[in-house]
Every structure is written in C-alpha cells, then in structure tokens.
C-alpha cells in the first residue's frame, strides 16, 4: 500500500482548529489525541446525491412559509458553489437556518428574551443549478446574546450546510453580513486565523441583484473541497 492516496489536509489557517480556547465549548468537545491519516478509498471518493424530491415549493423563500409576511428587513441571498478548480458544483444540496429579525431562533433551547415571529420558521433549502448557482429570499437575521463570555453577542449570520461532489466536500459554515462590528468580537468568526479565508465568510452587498423599493441582495460564493474529478450524475 505504498502508493495509497490519503485525504487532503486543509491549508493552515484556512480552517478553524478543533480546539480554540476563546470558543469555550470547544475545550471539552474537541479531540486531544493525534488525528489519523485517512487513506482515500471509494468511501471517501463517493458521496450521496440529493434530488429535488427533498425540496418544497417555498423552501427557497423563507418569507412565504406562513399566512403572513415575517417582520424584518427582506433580503435576497444568492451565490455560486464552486470546487477547488473554480468549476461550478451543480446539484449541491444547500440547507440554511437562521434567527428571526429580533435575533431569536424557533428552537426550544433558545432562551433569548426576544419575540418569536409567528410568520417565520427560519429554515430553507435548495439545490444548485447547472452553473452552481443558488438563490433564496429571507429576512435579515438579528444579532443575539450567548453565554460564551461576558456580554457576548453573535454577529448576524445565516447557517449554511452543503453537500457537493463526494462526502469529503461536506461543509457546514455561516454567512455573515458586511459592515457588522460584532464580527471583530466574535470567537467563532475569528477561529479562522487566515484573514482572507475569514473574510470570505462575509457576504457582499450586491446592488445589481437588489430590487428597487423591495429588497437588498447579498452575494455569497462558497468553495467546496474537491477537484471536480468525481463524476456527478444527474440526480433528477
């Protein structure tokens, strides 16, 4: 097995460390023993493909999932999913979730004293098109407090979960908004030590895609691991 290919290791600083003491809950939950080199077998080179059967008709519009419109600033979010060669990843499943405009999640363990919005669930999903594009409409999430340290507040963000070509392309991340001063204070955001990698998690105000008198737009491109040499079959 001398010639065994092994799983690629991320460039230093472009991914967070497993243990990052400023993020207090990483201390008891991150491994301490050496991570093991993983041979890249068919298991690692293949992956699940998700079909449009998983996507409901309002899953790309988080403002249409209830009888009324949610409160808050209506926005469009869109972008492209690319591989490491810059090629579009088509058929990628994207799942998003977020707090409402008041900074409250519709979740039983969210104890923040801010109102729930009966017209907002905060969940969406979509599948990228042939150019790797995705698009959804939502409301801008609010900042909210958390227990990491004294007076800790998360900058506004939308959670993203992605499946590209091959299970190793799997990514869970967060999209931030430009010009948010809370980013500089946030240990989760700052866990990515490489500045350029960190700033790529901040979306860009996109006036071209904005619709006058209706909604601003934010552009957010995502690069997934992999070089596109995994054939990606039509899933539908």
């Amino acid at each position: 097995m001398e010639s065994m290919t092994t799983v690629q290791i991320a460039i230093a600083g472009t991914q967070p460390e497993f243990c990052f003491p400023p993020y207090v809950s990483s201390l008891a939950r991150s491994p301490r023993l050496p991570l093991i080199v993983l041979p890249e077998t068919l298991t690692e080179r293949s992956g699940p493909v998700f079909g449009h059967g998983l996507i409901g008709k309002t899953d790309h519009d988080l403002t249409l999932q209830h009888d009324g419109e949610p409160l808050g600033e209506r926005i469009f979010v869109h972008g492209r999913v690319l591989d490491e060669d810059g090629r579009p990843v088509r058929g990628a499943l994207i799942e998003v979730w977020q707090a409402n405009a008041a900074g409250r999640y519709r979740h039983k363990v969210d104890g923040h004293d801010a109102p729930l919005d009966p017209n907002f669930s905060g969940a969406g999903r979509m599948i990228t098109d042939a150019e790797g594009r995705y698009f959804f409409k939502t409301i801008k999430p609010g900042a909210y407090p958390w227990a990491n340290h004294h007076n800790a507040w998360r900058p506004a963000h939308i959670h993203f979960s992605l499946f590209g070509a091959g299970i190793l392309s799997r990514l869970v991340t967060q999209m931030y908004f430009p010009g948010d001063p809370l980013q500089a204070l946030d240990p989760i955001f700052n866990s990515i030590s490489d500045e350029s990698a960190r700033l790529r998690l901040v979306s860009r105000l996109d006036m071209e895609t904005s619709r006058p008198n209706y909604a601003l737009a934010y552009a957010f491109d995502i690069v997934l691991r992999g070089h596109g040499d995994t054939p990606f079959e039509e899933a539908w």
Binding site: R29, P31, V37, E84, D85, V109, R170, T173
Partner: protein, 186 residues
C-alpha cells in the same frame, strides 16, 4: 497542480441546527420500514463524561458503488447509503440502515463493512471524520484504513453486537479523554 480556490472555512453547526436539518431525519424515518435493516445506536460523551445532547451525525456507506460514482436519490430525494441522526436529551443517537457490505477498495480487494461518519456539534468549529466497523467481520483484520489506526485505539471504531440476531449494534463516541474515539485528519 495549482489550487486556485481555497475551500471555504467551516463554522460550528451550533445548537439550533434542527431548524434546518431535522427534516431529513424525519423523511428517513418514514421510509425505513423494510426488513433486513440493522440498527446502530450509541451515546456521545465529552471530556467530562457528560452526554452531548446536541450532536448531528451523518453516516455514509459506499458498498453498492463499484466505481467513482454516487448513489442516486429515490423519488423522495433521499439517496441510498446516507443516514442522518441527532442525539437526544440523553446524548443517544440511533439509525436504521441497510446492512453495509464489503466496499471495493479500488485495487481489487475489499474493505471491511463500515460507515464513514461525520460528526458535528456545538463546540466543534469543524466537523470530525471517523468510521464505524462491525464486530466479527473477518475483513477487519486486513482493512487498510483500520490498519492505519494504532492498535490500542482500533477498538474505538468497532461497534458491539447488541442482539443475538446480530442486527442491532452499539457504538459510543468519546470526544476527548483516555478512551477517545479515533478521528481522521482533514
């Protein structure tokens, strides 16, 4: 080979992921009624032996794939060979799955039956990758991946049989400590 595009940084799944990710667990539960399934279940604990009550686990099995390919989804959009679970208030997870078979290694030999496991939780800024194998599989002794794991830690990747019929298996995950589960680098 020049890498032009650096993969986007990972961020924690956080404590509220069920809002966006639970739908798939529910959809799987509806479809898994076939006989001949196995059940894999276990508990996740942290450094302090405290149950990890907000973890997301994903299992991938490629045993039906013979080349660089993917398993296509069914009408409900869900692919074969992929299972998602979340831990409950006691830190326990459970999946019902098609029993993994020997997966091609790529050189004409076969790997021992296994799932690749992705593990996400609040407190993890990037996910963990591991594998789970099954007891009494002869291929475990020659599995190229298992052989990379130090002998003293190999047992952390092998489930226990929980039933006489050999269709219920138990596999715990220890995130940190003396009996820490073996995780792979990425």
């Amino acid at each position: 080979m020049t890498t032009k595009f650096v993969p986007s940084g990972s961020q924690t799944v956080g404590p509220f992921f069920s809002i966006g990710l639970q739908h798939m667990i529910d959809a799987q539960a509806e479809r898994h009624t076939a006989s001949g399934m196995i059940e894999l279940r276990g508990k996740v604990i942290d450094r302090d032996d405290a149950p990890v009550v907000d973890a997301l686990l994903e299992f991938w099995c490629a045993d039906r794939i013979e080349s660089f390919a993917t398993l296509e989804p069914r009408g409900d959009g869900l692919p074969s060979g992929f299972y998602r679970a979340a831990t409950n208030a006691e830190g326990n997870y459970r999946i019902k799955a098609t029993r993994p078979g020997p997966a091609p290694f790529g050189d004409g030999t076969y790997q021992a039956p296994h799932f690749l496991v992705l593990f996400f939780a609040r407190g993890l800024l990037r996910h963990l990758i591991t594998r789970v194998y099954f007891p009494m599989a002869q291929e475990n002794d020659t599995d190229h991946v298992l052989l990379q794991v130090p002998v003293a830690r190999r047992h952390t990747l092998i489930a226990h049989a929980d039933s006489q019929e050999n269709h219920v298996f138990h596999w715990d995950i220890v995130l940190q400590g003396a009996d820490e589960t073996a995780f792979f680098a990425w």
